[in-house]
Symmetry: D3
Subunit: 325 residues, 6 copies
Amino acid sequence: MESGRLVYLNGTFVPEKDAKISIFDSALMFGDMVFEMTRSFNKKQFKLREHLERLYAGLHILRIPINLTIEEMEEACYKTIEVNEPFFNENDEHRLMINVSRGPLGIYAPIFDNKMEPTVVIADFPLKWTVASMGVLFEKGINAVIPSQRAIPGTLLDPKIKNRSRVHYQMANIEVSNYKGENNWALLLDPDGYVAEGTGDNFFIVKNGTIITPEGRNILRGISRAYIFEIAKELNIPCVEKNIEPYDVYTADEAFMTGTPFSLLPVVSLNSELIRDGKRGKVTDMLIKKWSDNVGLDIEKQIIDYSKEVSDYKSNAPTPYQFKK
Amino acid sequence: MESGRLVYLNGTFVPEKDAKISIFDSALMFGDMVFEMTRSFNKKQFKLREHLERLYAGLHILRIPINLTIEEMEEACYKTIEVNEPFFNENDEHRLMINVSRGPLGIYAPIFDNKMEPTVVIADFPLKWTVASMGVLFEKGINAVIPSQRAIPGTLLDPKIKNRSRVHYQMANIEVSNYKGENNWALLLDPDGYVAEGTGDNFFIVKNGTIITPEGRNILRGISRAYIFEIAKELNIPCVEKNIEPYDVYTADEAFMTGTPFSLLPVVSLNSELIRDGKRGKVTDMLIKKWSDNVGLDIEKQIIDYSKEVSDYKSNAPTPYQFKK
Amino acid sequence: MESGRLVYLNGTFVPEKDAKISIFDSALMFGDMVFEMTRSFNKKQFKLREHLERLYAGLHILRIPINLTIEEMEEACYKTIEVNEPFFNENDEHRLMINVSRGPLGIYAPIFDNKMEPTVVIADFPLKWTVASMGVLFEKGINAVIPSQRAIPGTLLDPKIKNRSRVHYQMANIEVSNYKGENNWALLLDPDGYVAEGTGDNFFIVKNGTIITPEGRNILRGISRAYIFEIAKELNIPCVEKNIEPYDVYTADEAFMTGTPFSLLPVVSLNSELIRDGKRGKVTDMLIKKWSDNVGLDIEKQIIDYSKEVSDYKSNAPTPYQFKK
Amino acid sequence: MESGRLVYLNGTFVPEKDAKISIFDSALMFGDMVFEMTRSFNKKQFKLREHLERLYAGLHILRIPINLTIEEMEEACYKTIEVNEPFFNENDEHRLMINVSRGPLGIYAPIFDNKMEPTVVIADFPLKWTVASMGVLFEKGINAVIPSQRAIPGTLLDPKIKNRSRVHYQMANIEVSNYKGENNWALLLDPDGYVAEGTGDNFFIVKNGTIITPEGRNILRGISRAYIFEIAKELNIPCVEKNIEPYDVYTADEAFMTGTPFSLLPVVSLNSELIRDGKRGKVTDMLIKKWSDNVGLDIEKQIIDYSKEVSDYKSNAPTPYQFKK
Amino acid sequence: MESGRLVYLNGTFVPEKDAKISIFDSALMFGDMVFEMTRSFNKKQFKLREHLERLYAGLHILRIPINLTIEEMEEACYKTIEVNEPFFNENDEHRLMINVSRGPLGIYAPIFDNKMEPTVVIADFPLKWTVASMGVLFEKGINAVIPSQRAIPGTLLDPKIKNRSRVHYQMANIEVSNYKGENNWALLLDPDGYVAEGTGDNFFIVKNGTIITPEGRNILRGISRAYIFEIAKELNIPCVEKNIEPYDVYTADEAFMTGTPFSLLPVVSLNSELIRDGKRGKVTDMLIKKWSDNVGLDIEKQIIDYSKEVSDYKSNAPTPYQFKK
Amino acid sequence: MESGRLVYLNGTFVPEKDAKISIFDSALMFGDMVFEMTRSFNKKQFKLREHLERLYAGLHILRIPINLTIEEMEEACYKTIEVNEPFFNENDEHRLMINVSRGPLGIYAPIFDNKMEPTVVIADFPLKWTVASMGVLFEKGINAVIPSQRAIPGTLLDPKIKNRSRVHYQMANIEVSNYKGENNWALLLDPDGYVAEGTGDNFFIVKNGTIITPEGRNILRGISRAYIFEIAKELNIPCVEKNIEPYDVYTADEAFMTGTPFSLLPVVSLNSELIRDGKRGKVTDMLIKKWSDNVGLDIEKQIIDYSKEVSDYKSNAPTPYQFKK
């Protein structure tokens, strides 16, 4: 049974199931594709422009010769939402996935009748499927697990360009899937031993009333991460970038992770060792509340409601992937 | 005008143009796809089994739960060649591209009617398109250029697993495309400053009668690379693995690169500075001749013939990509 | 109930329970103590002299001014065995622990009536307590787990000096204790990503008929490790030192670990992913058999017998430590 | 002749001479012991609570399952002082050494009648013995010497956990003992070439009126170090953490080291090359004075007085150890 | 035809052509020479004292036993200008080159009649020759090119000591000379992948109204660099030190380089990819104007005028060197 | 009193005292000069051709456009010896110093009447002055001292190119001059902690009958070093390249250093700790004897004789430099 949802593909709309990219595309040949994933709050896209600016920075550095202006791209996003809204429930949020690749490699031009251009994809998927498994984490919190896999430093493969060459995140996820207990999320160190990021999220601690997050170096500089600085300012809580080591996490007062789909979630232990008392902290509470206020909906409640709704959703995996048994 | 060629896609054959992978596939989401590219000599696949064994090693390490045995995969390869042979010229060689990914991510299962399985693709493309631009290089030789981009060491993202997370190769290619002169191919150093590999080829020098290639560490351990060891043995030329630095290249007697489509090509300069007299060396000659003898065709002549045949082939780029002007 | 066993302590014998070192000793102040642990086969010490030579190399480099010659130390070892043999069962083996530290720090001289000298300890403990839990591993094999903790390179804290500053091994053990499944032993990578060693054992793979072990760099150069070279030679199996990466382990034919108490044990998986078919390999078999032949007892059977004997031994931990729950 | 002083040992008090730890304890087996050393000013413990908090952070990270609360530990410290005060002179200060280890390893349980628990030791020693040799340094200043031995970075063996695996400090001390001249103290660089710390002290420079100390990364974050920030604030002198290189030390206006026993001492040269004019600087003066005022005694005078008192104290070594001649 | 200009050489003045250093001097034997290059604005030396202080810091660290005080050196500089002014045009500026080496090596003493002393050289050259080729860059801007050659970190060869062991800058220049297009200047990364400096200039970006320059670590801490902080303060523009990566340059609003001869020049692209719109930015404008105002002449106009004057000056190379064709 | 000796300077001969290089030469501006130092045995140059080949390799890599062929350069060397022989004693050996730089920088062309060419210098100095202080070392041996200064790895500044950018060797020498005792020579580790080389010599150990020297990586590949391989072969002693760590030196049977002026000298201790019994070893003896036989003079005796002859030679410094007191 098809969902009815449509995906923007180089100017046309196709059914979700047919949203595919040629095996001769640089995206598949080299992992040479830049992307963004957004969400709405109450159907209203959050920081879409900031997402697109980051997308275009990546295209710039990878010399991908896109011929859409950022304004045209923005318009295409809104158009995609518009055509899909009929297939969304009232309480659904629009999670966009925007992909841009260099297009097919030159030698395969004849296959494409020599029509060679960048590949642009905009998909729109109900947020609930991504976050349903996370409802429990607002209460129980995440156990951050440091795998052996290190983050790749920016000088070798820049994580600040949100791109698809990231099988090392899968390697990290595989390791953590072998870890005892529940609610385990990978937290990668960089080769210098500093905390970098999760495999799809940024990390923060709170110590003596200050919010601290790793410097914007060997990480994706997340949009949600940037938003924490904004709301911390509104709340008059100091928020700084600083190198963080596991020692700092073990001795922190609070910790949390941020990501577009869930906004922010408490981290209550590191490698199964409790951070302070293992409870969600006060500053985390304040940030969730402030964020909720600013966007006009209760972030936590929405996700918990989704969890119930998706009663037939079986996987407990916090990030969705599948490994060999 | 379609070529008639067909691509194996999870058990069925589809026209080349329709050989696509879903945007929800882990291949696109994470660059999480293992692959091989092979070729035939006189229509006979070369070292296909070795390619498949390397493919399966990668699947093993990435925990991709493929349900084809290696024998079944081999059979699928031959079947693919069989269905495509009618669309190949008499002098064409079969260049296979074999891709295997983990398949769509879990949360997108409903889109696929919950039919979740690894994605297996086998394409078959005439070799000539890949190698046509290389005919001139047997004579003129490659100018190896060391870009600022370093090879990623195996401990961070293992190049020994031939996978699609390799946008850093594109970054290297972009740099080298800005370099003066012709016939420039990227030659990457690893972070320790040792020569690693090209962006699709292995590197060798000859010094005092010994063939030397970098240790099998921060490189793909190429099938052609391994074959050099075989034919060197047949020729009674010592061939060893050893750390190589730019100094060793500058002071070498000869240098060459190996890769599946072209077998081996001479390297005559480094960063535009001649290696010895800037001519193809004797050992290189012997290896080309021996390889040709072993496979029963003149490797060099075939590629030069292809170059003439593809008279309307316009690009001079040694590796096929396109960058923003 | 006391065991009756006695410990050599600076020339005198004291009951095991009273074998203690002053809190003012450099051993405790700086982890500044060199040590060896040996074993017997059929009551006969194995490679005792080699152990002592390594001990004295460490004393030399740490400038610990011991006044016993190596011959006197050897004699003290034999004397210790002699006084303890009455308290050993017939089937017990003598596991010696030899500790030498610099002695008390200078400012605490008055506490010791200014009698300042290195501290020399020789304890003798029945081997069975150490190996009882390992009987099952000859059949089931070890699952090697790579923790986030890296081996410290020799240039910072030389593991070739067998010394007591090694709390990082405990950190590695803690990580691995959180890993799912059984029979997990830590296998540390060094900071370059090469396989180094376990937290009390050396690592080997077998590939295409050759036994390979990491270069003697960021590891303890084990006495058992050296013995593998000896018996491999007797068996005409090539045995070499070479850098090993996880890729090499995943694609190996066999793997095993060596250590004084258990000689050698098969490793059947890495991070829970089977090595080949997950069975103990043929070369491993041959080595166990040859070693057994050479020392005149069935290594494997002895340990399995011990396992049954120690029926009340409760811990399943392969290495004996205790962590906070 | 015994001193009469007593040491707290797992709840009981024993004579100093008998304060020993079993050779089967994890403290000796793995250097697996966390510790603190404190001092009093006018018999009043200084920052005892901060020391204990750091101790407990270490226990937390090493998963040592202590069953004393921090309050009970504090009480035990005061009790230890109380029982020892009778044996202290009027002008003596109480230097506590607090050690906590995981206790004996599991397989040795029978030796201890299966009574397995962490080992807790609190010793109380007159400060004068530690500092007597330092009196001269307030005037002459320290010559900081950079040895070849590098500080171990936190990601390999975290110096922020004050633990006993630190034989590399002895290696550094050995090197510096071979250096010409007097008053040489080791100053370790980390592997990146930044100044880290001494082998028992933190390092500061003063430049253009600002006090600068290395970031709290590859160092112990000293209690005295933290106190400099406090008194600098009281004195309205800016005090910051920043990476320091030898260049910065050579071109500094002043330099000093801090440590619990001596509070702070001037550093007047680096590798025998004078810093500025080789005299103790003004900011150093102000800090010594302010510290003295705050604790109600003249820090410098007290130590110089001790130096005279300990007239029979022979060693000139600034840190107390002994090496082979 | 001789210029008439004279060079100060250990207290005497010699014709420019005869300003030479013995091949037995440590300057040539070891690249063991510290130096400074200054300039005047309207004949008035700029920051001469700061240059000399940096010179003396280098002499201090290299233990070069100069017997001139800094005041005497300053006087010698002014004397040199005085004797050369007659040979300078009215619009010429005085560019001083001050060299100090350890002098001849000991074993060559007899050659110098045992008169062994440091070598001190002060040359005075019209600035126009250095800057004539740069006039065009105020408008067109520099294309910064990242070569494969990395900056040497301070811990191995400290760039903060302005010394003559810098053939690696030539290696970088050689690489960049092979790059397509014009106005290419080398911009070196350090081994960690951070932007360091050019081969004779410091680098800045402007982002969101803040001026940012790399931390003063693996770079020469330029006098012009320091002056940017001064004038930024006067202009109320925040100016900070921070690690910069290529990503930050690609996404910057403006970029520029500073150096004594040209003060500052816009950078408009990185590796041929435009920074923003590829035009000189507003903050750069303001800094050039402010600097001009402060020194009382139009920096840009002066250099453009020089460019016209030196109509017979043929080389286009931004930095003056010559490589093999 | 002049020596009468003459120096070849770009085709002409000048008195030694006048052998100078312009301050505007790239040699002084960038340490951009390649060089060789040779010696004769019984007036016959040793391995001159090998020295020149290394020189030309360096010129090649630095793109220095020399217009002398290697044969012409060789001839110039012999011519230089010829003109100087009259001023040499009968027992004197000819130590050549050959320098080649890129010549004056472009902008200074007018000073040189636009006659711009590489600078070529050949000096000829009696060997005895260099080696006189070393006579004692054949008996007493060298104490190798590891300074904090690390060797610069080849990827940053290649020591395999014998060039003048090497002030870091002076930094190492300064450190070692502060070390207690006599006969201290610097032995540098590379940044990975492997033994690299001295500041003008290569290092070897002997272990279990095998001669071992560091791999030819972060070192100058010495001509004497290569000759050890030759004579070891003649003596049937295995000689290999391998990574060496301080541990290997401490536990070696013998050690020695090689260098052109002295051929080879025993190393008897490391950081003042004896290697074995602190005596020159048997293999060292054999190598000295074999080398002497091959060149037809007693290497050791010659240098000891020189030591007596140079009775007025005052310095004890093993390498000739002078530092500030």
